[in-house]
């Protein structure tokens, strides 16, 4: 566990929005998807997943319905609202800008040392 890095502040919301954007899913599936996609590199504390989901629902970025799973159990399925999609696009773009900028700086570092 100690090899995994913590999730940078604020990125959990972005990841959740991205996962939900792929299709309507329930909380457990989101947790699993995050785990798999991030190839066990990023530690997603399950305890903070649900408060985040509820917060996003409260802000109107996510909507939820109770539906049956393939195993016939009732579960709460989250999907993206129009507002949520706009938010996802905006945040993804800003994330891209941020990482590119950070990468740029990191690449510049050896030149500056000369």
């Amino acid at each position: 566990m100690s090899e995994k890095s913590d999730l940078p502040q604020g990125t959990l919301d972005l990841l959740i929005l991205k996962v939900v954007a792929l299709g309507s899913v329930h909380g457990y599936a989101i947790a699993q998807r995050l785990q798999q996609v991030s190839r066990d590199v990023v530690q997603v504390p399950q305890g903070s997943l649900y408060p985040a989901l509820h917060r996003l629902e409260n802000r109107g970025l996510l909507a939820a319905d109770w539906k049956e799973t393939e195993t016939g159990r009732e579960a709460k399925f989250y999907r993206l609202t129009r507002k949520g999609r706009a938010q996802l696009d905006a945040e993804a773009a800003s994330w891209k800008r941020l990482t590119e900028a950070v990468g740029l700086i990191l690449r510049m570092a050896p030149e500056g040392a000369e």
Binding site: Y28, A31, G47, K76
Partner: protein
Amino acid sequence: MNWWQRLWRRKQIEEHLEKELRFHLEQHTNELIAHGYSGSEARRLARLELGGPEQVKEQCRDARGTRWLEDLLQDMRYAVRMFTKNPGFAVVALLTLALGTGVTAVMFTVVNGVLLKPLPYHQPDRLVALHEKTETSNQFGNLWAFAYPNYIDCEKESQSLTMAAWRYNGGIITGPAGAEYIDAIQMSSELFSVLGVMLPLGRGFRAEDDHLASAPVAVISYNLWQRRFGGNPAAIGSSVVFDGQSYAVIGVAPAGFRVNDNDADIFTPLGQDPSPALQMRDRHPGIAVIARLHPGVTLDQARTELALIGRRLAQQYPQSNNGRGFVADPLRPEVGDVGATLWLLLGAVSLVLLIACVNVASLLLARAVSRERELAMRVALGAGRGRLVRQCLTESALLALLGGGLGIFLAASGIGPFVALWPGSLPRAQEIHLDWRVTLFAIAISLVSGILVGLAPALRAPSRDLERSLRAGGRTIAGNSRRLHSAFVISEVALAVVLLVAAAMLGGTLVQLSSVNPGLQYHNVLITRMAMSPTTLANPPILPAWKNALERARHLPGVESVALVDTVPLREGNNQLAYWPAPTMASPTDAPIALANSVTPDYLDVMRIPLLAGRFFDDDDRAGNELVVVIDDVLAKQAFGTQNPIGRRVWIPSTSSPFSPVREGADPVRVVGVVGHVRYWGLAGDDQAHVRAQFYYPFAQVWEPWLRRWSELMSIAVRTSVPPSSIVGPLRKELGGDQALYGIQTMEQLVSDSLARQRFLLLLFGIFAGLALLLACIGIYGVLAYLTSQRVPEIGVRIALGARPADVMWMVLRQGLGMILAGIGTGVIGAWAAGRVLQHLVEGMRPAGFSTFAITIPILIAAALFASVVPARRASRVDPMTALRQD
């Protein structure tokens, strides 16, 4: 789902949350089992990964955004449950707070209505009052009422102000119902529009009504319209006869309309007043001027313009207007000296409120301490500190708000009696209502007191360290709250001391003042004003008419003697004149001032004022003979020291002399007698009065053309051998007809009224002090009972070790006594300061002497000890076995 849906469907939301988390755990467990874990191991790992389900739920609830509201509702439900479980506590706390906020709200309602509310006119902040101002000031200051011609000029020339003038003018209204004296106001045609007043019926005055030659028209008050015309709209166009002149009624003023708190029944155009004095620029009857700033004009601009007009008029009329300018100030309600008394009372009720708060705070603290274990348990179960503080505050705020609501209710029913009890008439009494300001104030003080009373328990309870509280089991931790409890009791006792001493000071002062000699014999004297028949006034000479009236009154059965007087002792209104001890004076503005009173020869007899030297007036002191005065011993000493004043002369400067119309020099008058000083300013106020010297001059020597004006001022004083009220009827019948008696009072009433303010304050302070004492006793009882109950195990041990009941009782009493004495010590300092304030604000107040404290302190100690005895006795009866088995 919006926020209120979330709020109302809380239960469903909670169920969903539970279901969602359960689903997650089950899925995870199943997957782990599929990976080969055993059932119980899989469940444990799944749980571990998710974290504590309750914590996750709390965080999810926080994420909802309506959390604070849900908590508030929950806390309120909880608080209500605590109150119903403990109704005795709740009732005592509620009543205490209701009483505190109730009396404070009553006082604030009065302060608000009389002192704070703007004047009841349209845009009152754009209204200004205008005065004439002289460059040099004399004994009477440098601000003067306007001369009518000056007003006319200012009004014509001003571009920044719309001005209006008015003047009080009482008189007789005659009709089939007989003669009646009514208050009247003469006004310029613009007054209604300047004040922004719309007439409900008819029209106001027009500029063309405001001239001497115009047809006489009048606006009547709503009250007179109801009284004389039964509210019939046909009143417009009919006529009323006022002071012998018939006026066509053209309009009705709105109900309750007052000109800067002056009531009147009839309004007539000022420009129609025929009196020649009105047209003069000096020695004129002053008029009041109100103006409205034009839109966009500032007060400073208006002032600059007025100064310019003033300079121009000074050049044009140097004799009257030299050194005379005009000034404008924001129009303020005229409330006289009531303000100080009102603030004083508001201060006193705040003390009562403070005591009430301290009382409830100590009750709440006691409860918080006994609930310590419960709170510690809740911290252990995951409650945050802020959450607990919030809950405590919710509880006390709810208590205070309920108490405040009850207080507003109390105030609503208490204002009427309070205003009715006020001695004399309270200025702006019509404007005293429970309005939104008062409600807001009551809610604000309730919330503040709610937070104050909740603060001690709230900050204290969760800060205790958890483990110790749980382990101690509520037994040993009591001692830590003792200091706070003592502080509460000490402050309650101190506040009670302040109020008790204030009440005792007022009581002592009142007793002392009641025995003061007013300088005359006030039993069996009736005072009445008389409005002369308008036909008599219009056809001089007036003097014989007065003589005739006095003669007829003297022959009524039960009447001993009758006199005329303009300034009645202890009644409102006075006339002050400057006098010179020499025929010329270097700086006339420094001349001493005395009360001047015009009387008829029998005045001394009626009032039984002692004649100390010389003679009083007789019928030979009339116009044409030498001018004479009689002075009182204060003036004699002031002007002549130890020399004999009889036969000496003083000079009355002619600018204000009642004897002649000359404008320069002074009229010499000869002193023919010295009489005793009369307390004109009231039993309480006379000693500190600014002007104490008095002189009398014969009514018959007043310059003839001024007799008409003097006649409006004169009152008839009647010495009777029977109860004075019994001759009111016969007197009315004898002097009635087309003249009216009004303002009838006995001297006894006037003497008693002169102490009414002090008596009223004593009554209120007495009530406040009683309340404070009661609350303090309840507080002492509550705290001692609580502290003792916390010490029961200790007391049990003491008794088991051989302490006698008397020892235990003394131990508890000593604890109580310590707090009481500390409170008294603090209170005496506060009382000394409060005494200084009282001395400053209340006329005739004596400083708090040793006797004041000697009376009040034992009362307080006795009451406080009485409150401590019950818990002390209970402690002395503790059964050691039961006590030790406790917990």
